[in-house]
Structure formats: C-alpha cells, structure tokens
Symmetry: C5
C-alpha cells in the first residue's frame, strides 16, 4: 500500500490537491495520503523532503501556482530547483504540478486547466508507482497534462 | 515550547523582525526567540542554518529587503536559493520574509507593507508549528501576506 | 558487461531512446539496458540517480525535448542542472541528449536531428565506457552530435 | 584569538584585502590572518572552504571585482552562489566583498569605494565575531558598505 | 610530485589541453598528467570530480569552448556551476579555462587567444601548487589570461 505525500500552498488560487487526492483514491486502491500545506512556493521543497523523510512517503506531489510577474517567475525557478534537489537527496520522485497564472486568459479556464493538470498528474503518479511500463509505452508521444497532447513527430 | 530563530540584516531600511517578534509573542505563549542580525541578504542562509543547528531552533524567519536594481534582484535570488538549501539540509522551515524596495511607491507605504507582511508571516509560523490544519483549510485560497488576498478561482 | 540506464519522457514528441538503444546494442556487445520513462524533463534527474544507485547502471543517457517557449527554457535549465548534480553525487556520467523544439524548422527535420543526435551520443557512450582514448583523439575537433561538425581552428 | 581567512584574486584591479587586513588588525587585537590569493572569482568558493576546513579559520572574507560585461555578471553570480554553498557546508560566515567595475565612473572613485567597502566590511566581521549585538542594534537601519547609508523608513 | 588532471571536450574547436600540458611539463618538473576527454561542457564537472576522487589528482584544469548562442551561454553557466560544486565537494581546485567563441573576430585570433589562455592558466596552476605567494604578490593587479592585463586602480 503506497503512501503519497501531497504538499500545496495557501498562495494558490485553486485547490489542485483536492482534485489530485480524489483521482488518486479512485485509481490507487488503498493508497494512503499525507497532506501538508505551506504558505508559498518557496516552502514546498522542504515540505516535500519532510514528507519523504519524516512521514515516509513513497512519492510526493507538489502543487503551486506562480503569479505572472517577473518576480514570480524567479520564485518558481527557485522552488523547482529546490524540488529537484529534494528528489536527489532522497532518491524519491516529487511530481511538480505548477500552473502559471498566465497560462489561461480567464479565471474559469485557469481553474479548468488546474483541475485537469492535477488529475492527469495523479494518473502519472499511479503509473510511476504501480505500472511504470505504461509510461514507457508513451515515451516520446507528446503527452501534455491539462491541455491537448502534442503530435508525435514523423520522419 | 517552540524556539524560533529570527535573522535579519542591517542593510534593510525597516526592522521587520521587531514586528514579527511582537506578533509571535502575542500568539505563541512561551515561545523562545533567538535573534541574529547579519550585514546583508547573502549572509542570511548560513545565519539561518546556524540558528537551526547551533541554537536548535525549530523554525527560522529570515527578513530581508532587496533593493530595486538588477544587481539587487540577482542577490535576492542567491539568498533565496541559499535559504531553500539551508532548509533541505536541516529538514526545517525557514520562512523567507522579503519585501522588495520597489513594491510600494512611497516610504510610508513600504514601511506599512513591511510591518504587515512580517506580522502575517509570524502567524503562518505559529500555524506551521502549532496548528498546521489551519493552513490546509486555506489551501488554494489566494492568501497574500501584507496586501489584499487574491480571489480564489471559480469554475 | 556494462549496464546502461536510459531515461526519457512522455512529454517529448519523438522516441530518441529507441534509436539510442538500437545503436548501443549494435556497438556494445552484451550491453545491458535499463529503461525508465518519466513524465517530463524535471523528473529526469532523480530518475538518472535512481538508475545509478538502485539499478547499478554504469552510465545513464537522459533524453528530453524542451519546448520553444521561455518557460520551457527555464525548465530545461533546471533539468540540466539537476542532471549535473546527479552526476556529482554519484561520480557517474549522465549523458544529456536534449533536442530543443526550435532547433529545426520542420517536424521531419526535427525528427531526423533527434535520431542522429541520439545515435551519435550512443557512440560517445560506448567510447566513454570502452575506449576513452577515442575521445581524446577527437579533443578540440569541433564534434557536433546530430549536425555537421564545426571546423577546428587554425592559427 | 580569532583566525580570519582572507581570499582574493589577481583579476581584481585593486588590493582590497590589504585594506581589510589593516582594519582588522586595528580593531581586533591579536587576530590571526591567513591570506589566500587565487586567479579569479570562480576560484574563491573553494579557497574560502579550504581556509575554513584546512586552515581552521573562524570566518572568511572573500574579495572580488567583477567586470562590467554581461559575461562578468554571470561569473559573479556563480561565485556568489558558490560562496553561499561554502558557508552552508561549514556553518561558517564568508563575508563577500565584491565591487563591480561599473559601480563608479572613474578609476579614482572606484578605488576609493573599494577601500571603504573593504574597511567597513572588516568592521562587520569584528562585530560578527566579537560583538554581534552591535549588528542587531543596526538591524533595518539601511547600512551600506562603502557609500552613504540609506534612510530608514518612517511610517 | 604533483598529479594534475586535465579534462576537455570534443566539442571545442581547438585543443587547449595540449598547450597547457606542454606548459605544465616545462614549468613543473616531474608533474604527472591524467587526461580525460568528454563530449561537451556539461560532462566536465563529473569528469573533474572523477579525476580528483578516482585518479587522486591534486588539481584539475577544465577546458571548454562555449558557442556564441544564448543556449550555449546557458550551458556554460551550468558547467561552471557544476565545476564550482565539484571543487566544494572535494576541497580541490578546478581551474576553469573557457574561451567563448565570440571572444575574437577571426578563427586565427580565437586560436591564438585559446593557446595563450591555456598556457597562462597552466602557470597559475603551478603557482597554486608550488608557490602560492606568487599569486598574493599579484593580488589586485588586474591579471588577464590570454589578453593584455588590466590596469591597477590608483587613488
């Protein structure tokens, strides 16, 4: 029975974690969830590492919503770099699920994108933990979480 | 009884740490504070790590005020990255409370923003240490420290 | 008998790993391959480290296809930095084979470039593992994987 | 009796270390200095770490003078990041004293700035080692090393 | 008898390592050289670390030639950052000798610059290992490897 950590922020304007948890429960029978909410993006790396090392999670999902300003982009870069370092320190996946505030042009579309990305990444998590061959079958196929997939290239 | 480290700089033009300490004392009975002031932003990461490892703080708040020039932005990025690395090395939160000099258009508004952000982040610290469920209740709700909160997205 | 890890993504639009594996098998008799597919670029560093430390690979190839947007460049930078850190943590080479979506002006040319780069880097891998002197013979000679080589400088 | 490491470069166009050493000797009776000169900025991080771990310095000052080109800014960023990492690895302060070549518009003014910044940071070092409360008294007061201080904000 | 690691790339268009090795042999009697060639800049950090930890080199020189495109600058930044991290992990100098393809306006001048920089850095290496006081005598004197030195500032 896998234990999945879910960390997210009070800064974000949509609760992606709730959607992901719903999707995880539907698709991974008996999965155990540990949720940890922090103020902002920069607090996510240590939250993820604590979930792995103190709560013994097998994998962590990290949800965030960077703002549209230049300063927000810098902050997102720091958080992503920290999340990668947390993974390297623990040999454990932390699946980053970030939606940038400028990825859609209305609040409704942004919320829809956030739900879809959260749910599709939850399915990636299930594959990573339970059926990694599913991912290899899709290698190089242009998968996009939350939007239409890209077209595979043909020679 | 929690022990909270507070590190800040002589470079900043406002004493945010004093406000945060006041707020912590009001909201976390018996909290113990260890204060450590360094010259500038780049000195904060090791100060935070020393507070955690040598003073045995349970959590650290790091206050800084990056200037408005491009060089100051680069410096803030180095400091923030270092603060995240200090957290990853210790599995301990360091709550970064930075106010950029260009976030308000008058000295009075800037000082007001700095006090508010310091106090609101002090409350986040209390929640992280004592009542983490408060933060999860606010997950994805658009909290902003020091300014008006953002609106949660509706589908 | 060398064991080579191959990690790649479902995000990419072409399966470079298949070409590289084909080339490795043709050129390194008895080589053992362990393949590991993850969702995106940011998941590659920990995948590479796990292949080295958990699967005991002697070397890893990491395949990715960053998109053409500014955000994709930032993401590629994070992934590359993480791949270098994974190498430093393990004293093991991870050969990064990235093709940026804007490196060719048609899908057909892009696919061709991706195949060529994957195959030529597979040959580099064989040299690194079996015959490192081949690489020293080519030191400073302007080798380019997937495109025409550059001209060596003459005084 | 404190032992202070001083590392600097042959690249810089002014010998800040000499000024700082003079100031340290005047203000910290019996201080012991270990000096280590390297070619350029990128060599400073390991020099600082060696001074701490091999020479057992209690604190290090790192002097550098980044050029004015974009490439020099990138190099300064790498060096600063490395200096922060050296501090985190050793729980020891490394006070970075960099003056960018474009901070003054004449050679004479630049030299004057470099001397002042070096001397004022030497005083910070004495406070950090001997009298840290002096720094806390100046918290949030807009100190600038080498130039006129900034004004503290009033509400 | 010092052991010096030399790592370089097949990507570069000039063999700087050969010049540096020649200069080292002329100026450091009995020096032992271990050479290691990798495909590109991003492969240098782990190569340097392996030379230090597996080949027991006392110091490493890392030669590279970043291209002139924006993507090449990003790649050079990753490599330089990795080289600094390799040094911090080993307390050993890795002297980076990079020449950017846009540093000269003809192939002949570029090759000349590359040879000069390689040779002058080889002399720095000898000083670092054998006579570090030579470097301190040149502290703050505006040394430039491969080009005319800068003028020391006068007050």
């Amino acid at each position: 029975m896998a234990k999945i950590g879910v960390c997210d922020t009070t800064f974000a304007r949509y609760d992606m974690a709730a959607d992901a948890i719903d999707e995880l429960k539907k698709n991974a029978g008996g999965v155990k969830i540990v949720r940890y909410t922090v103020p902002g993006l920069k607090d996510l790396p240590v939250a993820a590492k604590k979930l792995i090392e103190e709560e013994e999670c097998d994998l962590v999902m990290a949800f965030g919503m960077p703002g549209a300003d230049e300063k927000d982009q810098v902050c997102a870069n720091q958080a992503s770099t920290g999340l990668i370092n947390a993974q390297l320190a623990t040999n454990t996946h932390v699946i980053e699920v970030f939606v940038h505030e400028d990825e859609a042009d209305s609040d409704a579309k942004l919320a829809e994108l956030m739900e879809k990305r959260a749910r599709e990444h939850a399915l990636n998590v299930v594959d990573l933990l339970v059926n990694p061959r599913n991912l290899t079958r899709l290698a190089g196929s242009g998968q996009r979480q939350g939007g239409p997939d890209a077209k595979p290239l043909k020679k």
